[in-house]
């Protein structure tokens, strides 16, 4: 989950990282604590970049604060009516730098990215220094200093190195996949300040952290989902809706993507991708079918493909689930079904009887080969000829 700037900075502040004075704008007046600030910056709290270019980050005065917020709300539109606004103290900046840490999965380490030019200079492609860090090894700040020493004056390099070393601990303690500070500002009074922060928290570690501290970020993520995707989350599986003409029910990320590709190669397009979700129940077949049937009621969707691999779970159980669901919910579009079942999953299973029962329940085709199923859908829906297989 990407944290909003306000929640990211609150997290950094908890770890002793200096950030500007700030307050979330609650009412229609300039907050009391902001009265003595040297200047004011208003920032819309979206979990995305490019806010400045969209007019969602502005220098304001006490007089222009509320009109600016109204203008930002107009830019955001009614769908983002609950967007929060962060009011920050504007600070005199002597120099802007760029500092980021990310988990390098292939290198199995943290990677530090640094540039002595921050802000939009980095977005414009100024060269960035990359350092692979072993965060557990002693002498981390010294090693970072050796890496950035040629780009900064020694004293500043030492301060940035110590800051970066401290941030590696923040990465680990807060289960972050990315921690990006841009700009990392050197102020005229000599302080180092994180003027903006982009933090991505590992969803797998969410149970370790206080959900209330990232409530706004979670709400933004939730808002980005379609109603069906939100419902799927509640039911314990992941649904990705896509513009397409075949509602796809599958289990397993790789198999799902393989089927999405196979459909596209045959002139079709998957309208959905499904996978398991952390904390979800062991069995979500009915919920997945329900979502697929909802998609299939749309005029542009022409077929439903249900395909799953069963290494040990009994295929007979899955068929009964499917038949029970179909008895209550006739398929709104032709339904194609396939199971890649190991013999242990098929033990005692009468494939012929199942095929005739499924046919009686309205299933257009039962086959264990995905390509055969996709070809049948393409043939029956008049899709353009196959590009690849």
């Amino acid at each position: 989950m990407r944290l909003t700037e306000a929640e990211a900075k609150a997290l950094l502040r908890r770890h002793g990282v200096a950030v500007p004075n700030s307050v979330l704008l609650a009412g229609d007046a300039v907050p009391e604590e902001a009265a003595s600030w040297r200047g004011l910056v208003l920032k819309a709290q979206l979990a995305e970049g490019g806010r400045g270019k969209r007019g969602l980050v502005r220098l304001v005065t006490p007089e222009t604060l509320m009109p600016a917020r109204a203008e930002m709300r107009a830019i955001l539109g009614p769908d983002a009516a609950d967007t929060g606004f962060l009011l920050e103290e504007a600070v005199p900046v002597a120099r802007e730098m760029f500092l980021a840490l990310r988990v390098d999965g292939t290198g199995q380490c943290l990677e530090m990215l640094f540039s002595e030019h921050g802000g939009i200079a980095v977005e414009e492609g100024k060269p960035v220094l990359r350092l692979a860090l072993d965060a557990e090894a002693p002498g981390l700040a010294e090693r970072i200093h050796a890496g950035i020493g040629r780009r900064l004056a020694p004293a500043l390099a030492a301060r940035v190195a110590r800051q970066a070393a401290r941030l590696t601990a923040v990465m680990r303690d807060e289960d972050l996949e990315l921690l990006e500070i841009n700009p990392l500002a050197l102020l005229e009074d000599g302080r180092l300040l994180a003027l903006d922060a982009k933090l991505l928290r590992d969803d797998a570690a969410a149970p370790r952290h206080d959900a209330e501290a990232t409530r706004a970020s979670a709400a933004i993520e939730e808002r980005s989902l379609t109603p069906l995707e939100r419902r799927a989350r509640v039911q314990g599986f992941t649904l990705v809706e896509m513009p397409g003409d075949v509602a796809l029910v599958s289990a397993g990320a790789g198999l799902g993507m393989f089927l999405v590709d196979l459909l596209a190669d045959h002139g079709l397009a998957a309208a959905s991708f499904m996978d398991n979700r952390r904390g979800g129940p062991a069995e979500t077949t009915e919920a997945r079918l329900d979502a697929a049937f909802a998609l299939a009621r749309r005029p542009e969707v022409r077929a439903i493909l249900f395909y799953t691999t069963l290494a040990s779970r009994p295929v007979a159980d899955r068929i009964e689930t499917l038949l029970g669901f179909l008895a209550r919910n006739p398929a709104p579009k032709p339904l194609y079904v396939g199971f890649a079942a190991a013999p242990s999953a098929s033990r005692g299973f009468d494939a012929e009887a199942a095929a005739s029962r499924l046919q009686a329940a309205g299933v257009a085709l039962l086959h264990d080969d995905p390509l055969t199923l996709v070809r049948a859908i393409a043939a029956n829906t008049g899709a353009p000829p196959a590009k690849a297989a």
Partner: protein, 292 residues
């Protein structure tokens, strides 16, 4: 050489074998002949689970294990891997999905430092098929989907590894091993390390790699392919996945152009791999490559 190929495990232990999913996999492994000598289940010392003795701790084993399969929940996986690494267990299979990435880093470091081969986290494990059922199953890559042969199948996704093994077998292409490396951002060993491990394996004639969108592991793989002495066929799924949407696996997200299937396939092709849009196409290539 991979430890489970050079010396097939004879003393396999299973962490947390009693859960519903784990118990089913343990039964499958025993049916396949996996020599499971004990289960590690804290608080159940002295009990039997379908004939498998349960112990509180790894330290209670009278002789060291040579493979471990962990059905430990995600929050305990790193600790379990570190225990196994400290005990010098050469092959460790960590099944749990949703292991926090910083935990996976610690686990991978510990296993690597001990010289262990860690599969996963988030893996179905591996199968080394053999004629007459004398192969090796560590996890749940069903032997029924596999057949003995000379193609090393390496997959990032469990379901795709299973589906591809099954398609290969149906097409008459046997596998030296079918290995699900794990679908997470951090896994014990990266694809290029697996490739290098098969370089000296005389029983392997070709490698089929099934990758997916997201991350950059295929670029390291491409570098390794350049010096690999056998043909490599590569499939990357997610060619038609939308950008900026996570497609199930923690790492399966096209956050940058180089994480797309098209760019990865191009890099692999440039390195000398035979790239294929689907496993079906890969089978066609493998047939040509392996037919004398």
């Amino acid at each position: 050489m991979l430890p489970f190929l050079s010396a097939p495990p004879r003393r396999v232990i299973v962490f947390n074998p009693a859960g519903r999913y784990a118990a089913r996999q343990v039964a499958e492994m025993r049916a396949a002949g996996t020599p499971i000598i004990a289960g590690i289940a804290l608080g159940r010392n002295g009990e039997l689970l379908d004939g498998v003795p349960l112990l509180d701790s790894l330290a209670q084993l009278e002789e060291p294990a040579d493979a471990a399969i962990l059905y430990t929940p995600p929050e305990g996986t790193a600790d379990a891997v570190r225990q196994c690494a400290a005990a010098g267990i050469p092959t460790i299979v960590a099944a749990a999905e949703y292991v926090p990435v910083h935990d996976a880093l610690r686990a991978a470091h510990a296993a690597r430092a001990a010289g262990s081969w860690l599969l996963g986290p988030n893996t179905l494990g591996l199968c080394v098929p053999a004629a007459g059922g004398g192969g090796l199953l560590l996890g749940s890559v069903s032997p029924a989907f596999c057949a003995p042969g000379a193609v090393a199948l390496l997959g990032r996704s469990g379901t795709l590894t299973l589906a591809t093994a099954r398609l290969l077998t149906r097409a008459g292409i046997g596998q030296r091993a079918a290995i699900h490396l794990g679908g997470d951002t951090v896994i014990g060993r990266n694809p290029h390390e697996w490739l290098e491990a098969f370089a000296g394996d005389a029983a392997t004639r070709a490698v089929l790699y099934c990758g997916e969108i997201g991350g950059d592991k295929e670029y390291a793989l491409a570098e390794a392919i350049a010096g690999f002495p056998k043909p490599v066929v590569a499939v990357i799924v997610g060619r038609h996945a939308p950008a900026d949407r996570q497609m199930g696996h923690a790492g399966a997200l096209i956050g940058a152009e180089r994480e797309s299937a098209a760019r990865k396939l191009a890099a692999l092709a440039e390195a000398g791999a035979h790239v294929a849009p689907t496993p079906y196409a890969a089978i066609g290539i493998l047939k040509e490559l392996t037919t004398p």
